[in-house]
């Protein structure tokens, strides 16, 4: 048990270390443009991805670095992607907010809010005909729940009992606006009832809770029971994007949030269970070292070649 929790800790540290490295690289110059970090939300991808089969499909958003890492995409070509290197997972074409790594079952970020949900339905639909019976996981934020495409996707998946797990990462903000101000019924999981599918609000800062519910949803999906909506309550410890002044935070908000954040919580739990602090520190160090090495390696790789910029538009 504490072995798995240690593995979770490592996986979450990898994501956090990746994101912090990205933040540095964005400040220093090698990464350019809009970047959305998932610091504070690491427990959701870590809890969810372990339950997926290789042939399952995963559709994330611009806030997708953690999902890609948890799905097994190596850090080095991810860093390379964000730095516009030829060796990036998409040769620099996708960038921070719109890369894919289908070889690893990561079917892409998406920078249009809500647009991934119908696409995930299609991946699930395909699995009904290609014999794989893959499950598709569609990840989006709380704000995306108000986008028409997500509604259509949930109904579509429900009507056809498609094996889709809708994972709503409710970090309480849509960019700079609290979701609580943009809906009248704040429990987004309850929207599942509108489609006749199960919906659960769960502790998204607890990888184990996420794992349990994702496993359950996958079971339902694989048995032909159709989609599930999981509202994972979490918080981002950083701005919506790098550069966000976070003027919308209330006094004391971040302090409260830090008490719930998944890594600190898990560390505390492990300490309480008697795992020596030194072991836990070693996990962090290991993750940081891995990410530093991956970033450095990517940094040394050649940039994308402008002469290739017009390739691959058509077959």
């Amino acid at each position: 048990m504490s072995e798995r929790r240690l593995a979770d800790l490592l996986a979450m540290w990898r994501i956090r270390a990746f994101e912090e490295k990205v933040r540095d690289l964005r400040a220093e110059g090698p990464i350019v443009g809009s970047v959305h970090l998932c610091i504070g939300q690491e427990a959701i991808p870590v809890g969810a991805c372990g339950e997926l089969e290789p042939h399952d499909a995963l559709f994330a958003t611009y806030r997708g670095h953690g999902w890609a890492l948890a799905r097994g995409v190596p850090a080095r070509p991810l860093f390379a992607e964000l730095m516009g290197r030829a060796s990036g997972v998409n040769g620099g074409r996708g960038g921070s907010a719109y890369f894919t790594a289908a070889d690893h079952g990561f079917h892409g970020e998406n920078s249009i809010v809500g647009a991934g949900a119908p696409i995930a339905c299609g991946a699930a639909l395909a699995g009904r005909f290609d014999g794989s019976h893959r499950v598709a996981v569609s990840v989006f934020g709380d704000g995306a729940m108000n986008q028409g495409a997500v509604h259509e996707a949930m109904n579509f998946a429900a009507a056809f009992s498609l094996p889709v797990v809708f994972v709503c990462e409710n970090n309480r903000y849509s960019e700079l606006t609290p979701i609580a101000d943009m809906v009248r019924a704040p429990r987004l999981a309850d929207r599942a009832a509108a489609y006749g599918i199960p919906g659960h609000r769960i502790d998204g800062n607890d990888a184990e809770a996420v794992r349990f519910h994702v496993r359950d949803a996958l079971e339902v999906a694989r048995e032909g029971g159709g989609p599930t909506l999981l509202e994972c309550m979490t918080e981002r410890l950083v701005g919506h994007y790098i550069g966000d002044a976070e003027t919308y935070r209330r006094p004391g908000e971040l302090e409260r949030v830090r008490r719930r954040e998944p890594i600190a919580r898990l560390r505390e739990g492990l300490l309480a269970d008697g795992v020596p602090a030194a072991d836990l520190d070693a996990v962090e160090r290991r993750a940081r070292a891995e990410m530093a090495a991956a970033a450095e390696a990517a940094l040394a790789e050649p940039p994308a070649d402008p002469a290739t910029a017009r390739e691959h538009l058509y077959a």
Binding site: T100, A102, I119, G122, A126
Partner: protein
């Protein structure tokens, strides 16, 4: 050869595709059990079961799921009942389908086919009358075609579905129930692209596509009787577009008219004229564009007729063009 209407030819192509490509799926609103509001998908549900199905009225879900299914190796053929309705979900075509191959550097592809139909028909309202091909033609990553004959309705759809990229096949509901014509349904998959010289001529080149082709051909015959020998080039493939053939013809006849049903400003006629002008083709008179003037579409047929180009207007304007002198 089978005698088929335009609508039947689409249906025959769908049957062939379902037969020869097990990865095809056909779906959309009312396309499964009812067989389509125009009967074009008739028989597919019965014959291919779950591979042909009805959907909720959810264009984003229809198109988005087609993108996802295509990414995973299916070849979905989805219907958007009217091109006008694509506007509720254009994101899935432009921001999603068109990007898949390019952004992934070819690691992922989106071989979906979107069948739709467009244009004015008597009494149709402003929300059911638009010709929107120019919108799709401004989007790199999409392929677009507009058949006007039963044979092309068949061939272009077969080619589209075999294509490994997203293709829009823009049909026209006023053609579905037209004359039966012999259609070769057992030929090989035709290559994408190319223009059709529907009538050879030496006085003027008239480029057109879609249902307007029939108006133009009627006009050309009338013009011939008046001594004007028009070359009619139909370009059923608009992306890829056969610029060379148009330039060659315009260079030979020295005059160019482009005719489409879409509104003139920003229509694809502008692109055709710009390409010919850009190629420095010497013309004896300024090129003209004939299309629906820049106005919304009124429902009353008597009003719509004053706007949508017809053979009479083509005759008149082309005649004027052939009389016009050099710039």
């Amino acid at each position: 050869m089978r005698d088929l209407t335009y609508g039947e030819a689409v249906n025959a192509a769908l049957h062939r595709l379902m037969e020869e490509l097990p990865e095809t799926l056909v779906y959309g609103e009312d396309v499964g059990v009812p067989g389509g509001v125009f009967g074009v998908t008739r028989g597919l549900r019965k014959q291919y079961g779950e591979r042909a199905f009805d959907t909720p009225i959810s264009e984003s879900a229809i198109l988005g799921s087609a993108v996802g299914a295509a990414m995973m190796g299916r070849r979905p053929i989805v219907e958007i009942m009217w091109a006008d309705f694509s506007l509720v979900a254009l994101d899935q075509i432009v921001n999603q389908a068109a990007n898949v191959r390019y952004v992934s550097g070819g690691r992922l592809t989106a071989p979906l086919t979107i069948r739709t139909q467009q244009g004015n028909a008597p009494g149709a309202c402003a929300q059911h009358s638009q010709c929107l091909e120019a919108l799709f033609l401004h989007v790199p990553g999409l392929r677009v075609c507009m058949p006007s004959t039963p044979q092309d309705a068949y061939d272009l759809l077969v080619t589209a579905v075999h294509c490994d990229d997203p293709v829009l096949v823009v049909e026209n509901r006023t053609l579905y129930f037209g004359r039966k014509e012999p259609v070769r349904t057992d030929g090989p998959v035709q290559p994408m692209g190319g223009a059709r010289t529907r009538r050879a001529g030496s006085d003027v080149t008239v480029v057109t596509w879609g249902a307007m082709t029939h108006q133009v051909l009627e006009a050309a015959e009338a013009l011939a009787r008046e001594g004007v020998d028009a070359e009619v080039l139909e370009t059923p493939w608009l992306n890829p577009f056969d610029t060379e053939t148009v330039i060659e013809s315009a260079g030979r006849t020295g005059r160019l008219a482009v005719v489409h049903e879409a509104n003139v400003t920003g229509g694809f006629g502008a692109e055709v004229v710009a390409r010919v002008a850009g190629a420095g083709v010497p013309l004896a008179a300024p090129p003209i564009r004939i299309g629906t003037p820049d106005v919304r579409m009124p429902a009353a047929p008597v009003l719509a007729q004053a706007l949508v180009p017809d053979a009479a207007r083509v005759i008149e304007e082309v005649k004027r063009l052939t009389k016009a002198g050099a710039p």
